[in-house]
């Protein structure tokens, strides 16, 4: 009797344990599918943490690394695990690829087409030349520290190019740089016919081999290497990033700098020549 009863209880317990295990597994499977990792807040968190409207319009914003021409090794989804052959991750790069691959002495030879492409890409998230660029990825709405973690020094790896801040540290990044997760070409409800000043194709030179002048302000662009350095777009890179003192050869404009100086150089009176 005792034995039978115990066996019966034992069976029930086993069944209950199995049931719990299975339901936990099933729940976990679906919950795992629905909730991406690393998101804050509540249960059915959407993939981007932008405002709900933005999420509704653009549920699949492109990976910023891909947008910038990098390559990304995508992780295997839980649902695909069983069908996936288990092997070592393809060795497209070593751990060294996770460090910034800035090479100051790499030879730079830029074609006019590459330059045109760079200026075009640069214009995508700027209203006009000189406008603060919008941010092509989701941002932490509250903190600036997360911006400077990457943009403080800039970054270049096989998969990612992160531009360095073009100006000194300013504490409230999102005062000027706002999130633009929809991409520049999305239609708006109301069209706007503003046509912004384009970036100059280059600074003027006195003669072909002369150093070009700076064709834009250096205000908010004091870090020349932000755009022209190794973490900048290829088409507008300097050929000599190892040189540290840019303005030694490339003169800025007193007008663009809004300097409180006379726009025309003043001279003392010319000598009076009697004839």
């Amino acid at each position: 009797m005792n034995n039978r009863t115990n066996t019966g209880k034992g069976k029930r317990v086993t069944w209950v344990i199995c049931l719990i295990t299975v339901s936990v597994a099933v729940t976990g499977y679906f919950v795992g599918l629905q909730a991406p990792m690393g998101q804050q807040a509540n249960r059915r968190e959407s993939a981007t943490s932008g405002p709900p409207h933005a999420t509704a319009v653009a549920p699949h914003s492109p990976n910023p690394a891909v947008m910038h021409g990098g390559t990304v090794i995508s992780a295997t989804a839980w649902a695909d695990m069983n069908e996936t052959e288990r092997r070592k991750t393809e060795a497209r790069g070593s751990l060294a690829s996770l460090t910034s691959r800035v090479d100051l002495f790499r030879e730079i030879a830029i074609s006019p087409e590459e330059k045109r492409m760079a200026l075009h890409q640069r214009a995508i998230n700027r209203a006009y030349n000189g406008a603060p660029p919008t941010v092509p990825h989701p941002v932490d709405q509250l903190s600036s520290a997360s911006c400077t973690a990457c943009h403080g020094e800039g970054w270049l790896s096989m998969s990612l190019r992160i531009s360095k801040m073009s100006h000194g540290y300013l504490a409230n990044c999102m005062q000027c740089h706002v999130e633009n997760i929809l991409g520049a070409n999305q239609l708006l409800v109301v069209a706007n016919s503003f046509s912004g000043l384009p970036a100059p194709a280059g600074g003027p030179r006195a003669f072909p081999e002369a150093p070009p002048m700076v064709p834009h302000t250096t205000w908010m662009r004091s870090e020349c290497l932000s755009c022209h350095g190794p973490t900048g777009l290829y088409g507008i890179r300097t050929t000599h990033p190892w040189r540290q003192n840019c303005l030694q050869c490339h003169a800025p404009s007193v007008i663009m700098e809004q300097a409180p100086l006379a726009p025309d150089p003043p001279f003392l009176p010319a000598p009076v020549i009697e004839r």
Binding site: H53, V190, W219, Q258
Partner: protein, 809 residues
């Protein structure tokens, strides 16, 4: 304009990019076409079509008053740069300022006058539109009202003011600024006897402690906020304290966050005062030399109150122990002691900032005077970095509304319609016959719209409202009472001058297309008493025309028809401008409006009003040369004009008598002393209860300005924040089974709306509080808000409306 003696830093220097390229090729250091001085209207000068010219202008948006350099090419704005020579912003802007130029080019700009015909509109000529307006006014001049804003330029507001009070003998003119800073005005008047902050933005460079009372400058006044937080990057230390009802971007920069219950600010200020008195850390010398004490006179409530002794004051604040304040405000007692210790320390410089949190408050006048009181009691006043400073949300809330006085009870230069002497002075300057100006104050904003939305048979005695430069259909509180009922009232007539279709034009009977910002000449006055001038740079689209011209054209049509009010004592037109050659210039004809600088004429006339309250303005030409000047601007013996950084302080303010150190020369008690007020804590007009368990607060966000009619048409800003959302505490959301992105219904006792939820997004409210920004015209949060008013300032409270929330399945 005269170029001589100009020390301007190319305020309007023509800078030609093409020329720059050419001369740069010659390797000269500089390159620009000649005009070094100042030129009047900038169009049509010797400028090549494809050259880029640069000119100064203040930004179109908030009350900070940043200067921008506007790049114009082929008659279009193509670029914006922060103005490096402007003291306010020193070259920095916020994202709205950088994109302000795009506000002109939304493709649905209004370009023709439109008259309602049933459910649609007919395009009509300006001539006919003016006739329609004049017919409406002449049919009953006393049932006409003018509703403007703190975005009126000074000349626009001045013209509207003169048209109404001088021309129609009608005082029903009020601005949207009534909804935004009138409690700051009553606070200044009750404390100092004269309006506007004594300090200025220079305090932000010098303060050791910055206390933000219900204020989120990281988003609302970002350039000023950066002016403080960027000091830390330079190695300076500043203590930032946020007293608020939800965590914001500002909170993230603060050492101390004091999360308070609504109306907790009243208790906090009294708690600080009590500790200062009890610990004897108040500034005895300052108080005994320059302050009196006041308490409200309940039998006869006014801004004079009743005088009390220091002992009375001590007794009044005695109940506000740190523990009692903790109970009332929800802020830990230790934090109250911390604030009192800071204020009690004479070695620190403490600046307070506030804006809508203290002003949109049914005890707005009370909390404004209490914060001034804490600063006066502790002597944190009058030294650089020691200042109680209110901020404004509109570019000319100070310049146009508070100084020109486009309020139902005011006349220019701090005068009152109820004061016979002030009316007489105004009639003198306007050259009007005696008793032209009505002695009875007109309707304040809420009363004006309430009367407009009440059937004529039931006492609704406003029949026509003309709205310029604002969007009351979205921004008035309790829209279902103060705006929407207009739809059923066929005899009421709404005229709206604007640049884009808005919630207000939805119910308009006549829509007038306006010029905006650099499509016209203008003058603004920012939050720090700085008067700023700019010139027209591009043509407005289609038939859009200046608001000021619209007012003058209507006035002249009435003059033509023989309406007596539009004539002065000598029978001349109220707005007559005489050409140098003699004879009037027909400025009421659009094609002649820019034959002269009408702004300059109106400004020079208005300037005569500014001496009474020692808010002296310099001649127009001085503002052309400068990036704004802070009044009083007083002429020195050598003929130069000197601005004033700190008011009431010897060595800075030229009106303080020698040897007085501090002199409140407009004191309400006539003894050169400021008033330290006591006001008790009182609960909000509406609190959460079982039926409506959440308290809704409303406000702005960084990317959008006011009702969003401009910023939502700027691609970079619209894409960053396309629409409004509801912000709530994650635990509250969980308890209601609400998730990120869910749509919810929000209901108050006054209306309801549907909206999406964004959790842990831009701001983080505590349990029981929710937030909705008001910029989105498709989610009109003001159907929910309360229209309870501050008894003195008549300003409504948009920050505390009880709501209930349910998820829409």
């Amino acid at each position: 304009m005269n170029n001589s003696g100009s020390n301007n830093q190319y305020a309007t220097a023509h800078v030609h990019r093409r020329n720059f390229m050419k001369s740069a090729a010659l390797a000269t250091a500089a390159a620009a076409s000649g005009a070094r001085g100042i030129s009047l209207p900038v169009l049509g000068a010797n400028v090549r079509e494809d050259d880029v010219t640069w000119h100064k202008a203040p930004c179109r948006f908030c009350g900070t008053g940043c200067h921008v350099q506007v790049g114009v090419q082929s008659g279009q704005v193509v670029s914006i740069a922060g103005d490096i020579n402007a003291e306010v912003n020193k070259g920095l802007l916020c994202v709205k300022g950088y994109h302000v130029g795009e506000a002109l080019y939304g493709q649905d700009r209004l370009t023709r006058p439109l008259l309602r015909r049933g459910d649609s509109y007919a395009e009509i000529s300006w001539d006919d539109a003016i006739d329609v307006i004049v017919d409406r006014i002449e049919s009953d001049p006393q049932r006409f009202a003018f509703y403007g804003s703190g975005q009126w330029t000074i000349p626009e507001g001045y013209a509207a003011q003169k048209f109404m009070k001088g021309g129609l003998s009608n005082n029903h003119i009020d601005p949207n600024a009534r909804l935004c800073m009138s409690s700051a005005v009553t606070g200044f008047l009750a404390t100092y006897g004269v309006d506007e902050p004594a300090g200025c933005y220079d305090d932000l460079d010098a303060c050791d402690v910055l206390i933000m009372w219900g204020n989120n400058p990281a988003e609302m006044h970002p350039v000023l906020f950066s002016r403080v937080v960027d000091r830390r990057s330079r190695g300076e230390s500043v203590v930032l304290i946020d007293i608020g009802t939800r965590r914001t971007r500002t909170t993230e920069h603060c050492q101390h966050y004091l999360e308070m219950k609504p109306h907790g600010d009243l208790a906090i200020a009294n708690g600080i005062a009590r500790l200062l008195v009890k610990n004897r850390t108040y500034d005895r010398q300052f108080v005994e030399s320059w302050c009196n004490f006041k308490a409200p006179d309940d039998a006869n409530p006014n801004l004079h109150g009743r005088s009390i002794s220091f002992e009375d004051y001590r007794a009044f604040v005695e109940p506000y122990t740190p523990e009692h304040v903790e109970h009332l405000a929800g802020v830990p007692a230790g934090k109250i002691r911390l604030l009192a210790d800071l204020f009690g320390n004479r070695d620190l410089r403490i600046t307070s900032l506030w804006c809508m949190g203290m002003n949109q408050h049914t005890r707005g006048t009370a909390i404004n005077t209490l914060v001034h009181g804490v600063h006066l009691l502790s002597g944190h006043f009058g030294k650089p970095g020691d200042a109680p400073t209110s901020l404004t949300g509109q570019p000319s809330a100070c310049g146009t509304v508070r100084e020109v006085g486009t309020l139902a009870h005011a006349l220019p230069g701090g005068r009152l319609v109820a004061n016979a002497g002030h009316r007489q002075q105004t009639e003198e300057i306007w050259n009007l016959p005696p008793d032209r100006i009505n002695a009875e104050p007109g309707y304040h904003t809420v009363k004006m719209w309430e009367s407009f939305c009440t059937p004529t048979g039931e006492g609704g005695d406003i029949g026509t409202i003309w709205v310029q430069v604002t969007n009351p259909g979205q921004t008035l509180p309790h829209l279902n009472r103060l705006f929407h009922p207009k739809k059923g009232l066929e005899d009421k007539f709404l005229i709206v001058s604007d640049v884009y279709p808005t919630a207000t034009t939805q119910l308009a009977d006549l829509i007038l297309p306006s010029a905006m910002w650099v499509e016209k000449n203008g003058i603004y006055g920012n939050s720090e008493r700085r008067t700023q001038q700019w010139f027209k740079m591009v043509e407005p689209p289609g038939e859009a025309r200046d608001d000021c011209w619209q007012t003058i054209a209507v006035a002249h049509r009435m003059f033509d028809r023989g309406f007596k009010g539009m004539k002065d004592r000598n029978g001349k037109f109220l707005f007559e401008v005489t050409a140098e050659a003699g004879g009037p210039v027909p400025i009421w004809q659009w094609e002649h409006y820019y034959d002269v600088n009408v702004d300059q004429h109106l400004f020079e006339e208005y300037r005569r009003f500014t001496r009474l309250k020692h808010k002296d303005l310099a001649p127009y030409g001085e503002y052309v040369k400068a990036r704004g000047l802070r009044w009083p601007v007083v002429q020195r013996d050598d003929g130069t004009w000197q601005e004033t950084r700190f008011r009431f302080v010897e060595g800075h303010d030229p009106y303080v008598e020698s040897g007085r150190q501090v002199q409140f020369y407009h004191s309400t008690t006539g003894d050169d002393r400021a008033q330290i007020w006591f006001h008790p804590w009182e609960p909000p007009a509406e609190s959460a209860d079982e039926a409506y368990p959440f308290l809704l607060t409303t406000g702005r966000v960084l990317e959008h300005w006011h009702s969003g009619s401009m910023t939502r048409r700027i691609p970079e800003l619209a894409r960053s924040l396309p629409g409004a959302w509801l912000e709530m505490n994650v635990d509250d959301a969980r308890s209601l089974d609400i998730d990120n992105g869910d749509r919810v219904q929000v209901e108050s006792r006054r209306g309801s709306l549907e909206i999406e939820v964004w959790l842990d997004g831009r701001g983080r409210p505590p349990r029981g509080t929710v937030f909705i920004p008001f910029f989105d015209e498709t989610v009109p949060v003001n159907v929910l808000t309360l229209d309870a008013l501050d008894p003195f300032s008549k300003q409504p409270d948009y920050k505390k409306s009880a709501v209930r929330i349910s998820r829409i399945p």
